[in-house]
């Protein structure tokens, strides 16, 4: 009996070890690709100005930009003696950690709200939290329709599909936009995010800005339309789209792989626009800065009709204090952000399916980073 109990304990320990390993792997489920990839070269790191940065920096925030930050960190910590630990706990968690003074910078899918700015004044002595747009991400609409390799949709049709107003792939509205495609008689399974997400926020912002009539909701991080199906995180939605015939769903472009096809959007431009990083950068170039002072919060022009501008984009910000940063972390944070905003830093983004910031916006970011104190 005693022997049996011992065995049981040993087995339980084994099970615990296995489950622990599984849990650790599960944590990484929202990551894609290999950050940095093989792009690292000595030349890139030699351009990084470390100044007197050293020590350890903790940061938290948007999971949408995790792969971008990881790629930066890899290059940056190879050049400087700084350990940067970005915990992609989500935008909400990041902003909360920032306004409570736990982290010197945070990543967020949306700019600080007025009450968050007010809260940040407590920890930025003499200053306040500001938004630095640093990473752009195209939101792709992926679909799984057997026999259809190219699909063009406009915002009104996308809105109707996700609001369960169009329920079959052979709907005349879809056929009109795709005269050459052989659309099957197949039920549409529209997938949205079950968790709150900046991706949902930006996707619905686009629909509301361009097709208010067909998408009569307020928007926000939580999905509001009724009907359809849902899955957690971009990876979950992408997995469902991949395995469900008739599915359509939205996620960041980097998840559109393994044969998931993406929708080209008919924006009113000469040609339907494909979801890729160059097209996303073109759309962000149409944005205007609405932040005051050093804050560089952007207002995107979702209704852009510029040729080759993919309007369904998400911009993630790095949030720091403009003044009153903690003395022990300021050099490291400043050096890191300087690198992220540099040409090299922005170039790495495209290799990881993110969109670099357009030139005039990133120029403003660089000036602001230099002025942090």
């Amino acid at each position: 009996m005693k022997l049996q109990r011992m065995n049981r304990r040993a087995l339980a320990l084994g099970a615990l070890a296995v489950s622990g390993a599984l849990a650790l792997t599960a944590c990484g489920s929202d990551e894609t690709g290999t950050p940095g990839g093989g792009s690292s070269n000595a030349a890139a790191s030699s351009n990084i100005k470390c100044d007197d940065a050293s020590g350890q920096v903790l940061a938290d925030g948007s999971s949408a930009q995790k792969n971008a930050v990881d790629a930066w960190v890899k290059q940056f910590s190879a050049a400087c003696k700084v350990e940067i630990n970005y915990k992609a706990g989500g935008s909400g968690a990041g902003v909360t950690a920032f306004t409570q003074g736990q982290v010197p910078w945070a990543g967020s899918d949306s700019a600080l709200k007025p009450d968050e700015v007010a809260a940040s004044k407590k920890i930025c002595s003499g200053g306040q939290g500001i938004d630095l747009p640093m990473v752009g991400g195209p939101i792709a609409v992926g679909y799984n329709v057997p026999g259809v390799d190219k699909l063009v949709l406009d915002s009104a049709t996308i809105a109707k599909i996700f609001d369960s107003k169009i329920t079959n792939w052979n709907d005349p509205a879809i056929a009109k936009l795709n005269p050459d495609a052989k659309l099957p008689n197949l039920k549409i399974q529209a997938f949205h995010r079950s968790d709150e997400s900046g991706t949902t926020d930006n996707f619905t912002k686009y629909l509301i800005a361009t097709a208010k009539k067909d998408f009569p909701y307020e928007g926000g991080k939580a999905w509001q339309a009724k009907g359809g199906q849902s899955a957690p995180q971009s990876s979950g939605v992408a997995a469902q789209v991949k395995q469900t015939a008739g599915a359509i769903g939205y996620f960041e472009l980097s998840y559109a792989k393994d044969g998931i096809k993406t929708v080209a959007i008919d924006t009113g431009a000469a040609e339907p626009v494909e979801a890729n990083v160059e097209n996303a950068t073109k759309a962000i170039a149409d944005a205007k800065v609405v932040g005051t002072g050093k804050d560089l919060a952007l207002e995107l022009n979702y209704a852009t009709k510029a040729d080759g501008a993919y309007p369904m984009v998400l911009v993630t910000y790095e949030i720091v204090c403009d003044k009153g940063n903690k003395a022990e972390t300021l050099p490291a944070v400043k050096a890191f952000l300087r690198y992220a905003a540099s040409e090299d830093g922005q170039k790495i983004l495209a290799e990881n399916d993110y969109a670099p910031m357009p030139d005039d916006i990133i120029a403003k970011v660089r000036t602001t980073v230099e002025s942090l104190s």
Binding site: L11, S19, T96, K226, Q229, T244
Partner: protein
């Protein structure tokens, strides 16, 4: 939430008479006094901790509910990020209860059957290994159940769903729109598998405690083995099986990751158990927490408070049922 208190309900004690009191007081030794102090202290500490949790939940919940534009109990929406915020728990309460009921309906009979088989039918050589395998089921972490559910169970449920839709679709409860089987019924089946080991184990222990004399007496009266089980074993074990079921129910009510992985949640109450949709308290908290603002977290905490209350009610009900069947409890055998 820890629900283990149910299983080891303290045996009923008679209030000591004045004479007894005097006797114990007279014989107080330092060890007794220290032990008394320690156990009383931990008892009080437990109450304080529970009260602190309840107080914290209530405080944060009130903060959130006071700003809620919708009705907290009846709104079919969860949107804390917009101004004014709107959120309600109707769908979550419905989903939590329905999925747990499905799990109980499936798991309790199966568990009792397994426990009876192990104690009364299985060859002695098989008892150990089978019990052991069932124990192992309890050691599997819930995220693994979730992954298994999403990758294996969901795709394989379509056949059953189609069959249910063909023959029972007219009831409305089993109609199916052909979507992926990420529905309440699938969640209920998954939860049933997850709570099966705990119910089986406790029931088996209880059935093993049945006094040999009862069974032998029944056999001597000419009862068959099934009649022995029906007349001696089951009545004796009933309260134990009920507490075992309540333990299982506690796990089903609070299960988070497996539900969040398998279900396709939305904020509607569907009459059909087969169509994707619905949600549970724990699943909603898990999926909304990371992106929630301070206020959004308060709202989630408010929903957590409701789950807390539901669990307390379930525990209370279980205790009431067990108290009524005291005559069969092991302590009196």
């Amino acid at each position: 939430m820890d629900t283990t208190q149910i299983a080891d309900a303290p045996p009923p004690t008679q209030p000591p008479t004045a004479q007894q009191k005097r006797a114990t007081r007279g014989a107080t030794r330092p060890g007794d006094r220290i032990f008394l102090g320690l156990s009383r202290g931990s008892g009080i500490l437990l109450l304080v901790i529970m009260a602190a949790i309840a107080g914290f939940l209530t405080y944060r919940a009130v903060l959130a509910i006071s700003k809620n534009e919708g009705n907290f109990l009846t709104t079919f929406e969860w949107n804390t990020g917009v101004n004014p915020p709107v959120f309600g728990i109707a769908v979550l309460a419905y989903g939590t209860i329905v999925s747990s009921i499905i799990a109980m309906v499936i798991a309790v009979p199966v568990s009792v059957a397994i426990a009876l088989f192990l104690t009364h039918y299985a060859p002695r050589r098989l008892r150990g290994p089978i019990a052991y395998v069932i124990d192992l089921l309890a050691a599997v972490p819930s995220i693994v159940y979730g992954l298994w559910g999403a990758l294996i169970l969901v795709p394989h449920m379509s056949g059953l769903f189609g069959w249910l839709n063909d023959y029972l679709g007219w009831t409305g409860i089993f109609s199916w729109n052909g979507g992926a089987a990420r529905s309440m019924l699938t969640v209920g089946i998954l939860l049933a598998i997850m709570i099966l080991p705990i119910i089986t184990n406790v029931s088996r222990e209880v059935f093993r405690q049945v006094p040999q004399m009862h069974e032998e007496a029944a056999l001597a009266l000419g009862a068959t083995r099934w009649e022995v089980i029906r007349m001696a074993v089951i009545p004796f074990g009933r309260s134990g099986v009920i507490s075992a079921s309540m333990l299982g129910l506690g796990r089903a009510l609070g299960e988070t990751m497996a539900v969040a992985t398998v279900l396709s949640p939305d904020f509607l109450i569907h009459t059909s158990l087969l169509n994707p949709g619905g949600g549970t308290f724990a699943q909603n908290i898990a999926s909304k927490f990371s992106e929630a603002t301070e206020f959004g977290r308060d709202a989630l905490i408010a929903s957590g408070l409701v789950l807390f209350v539901i669990t307390l009610l379930v525990n209370g009900a279980a205790r009431a049922i067990i108290a009524r069947r005291k005559e069969y409890s092991g302590a009196n055998a």
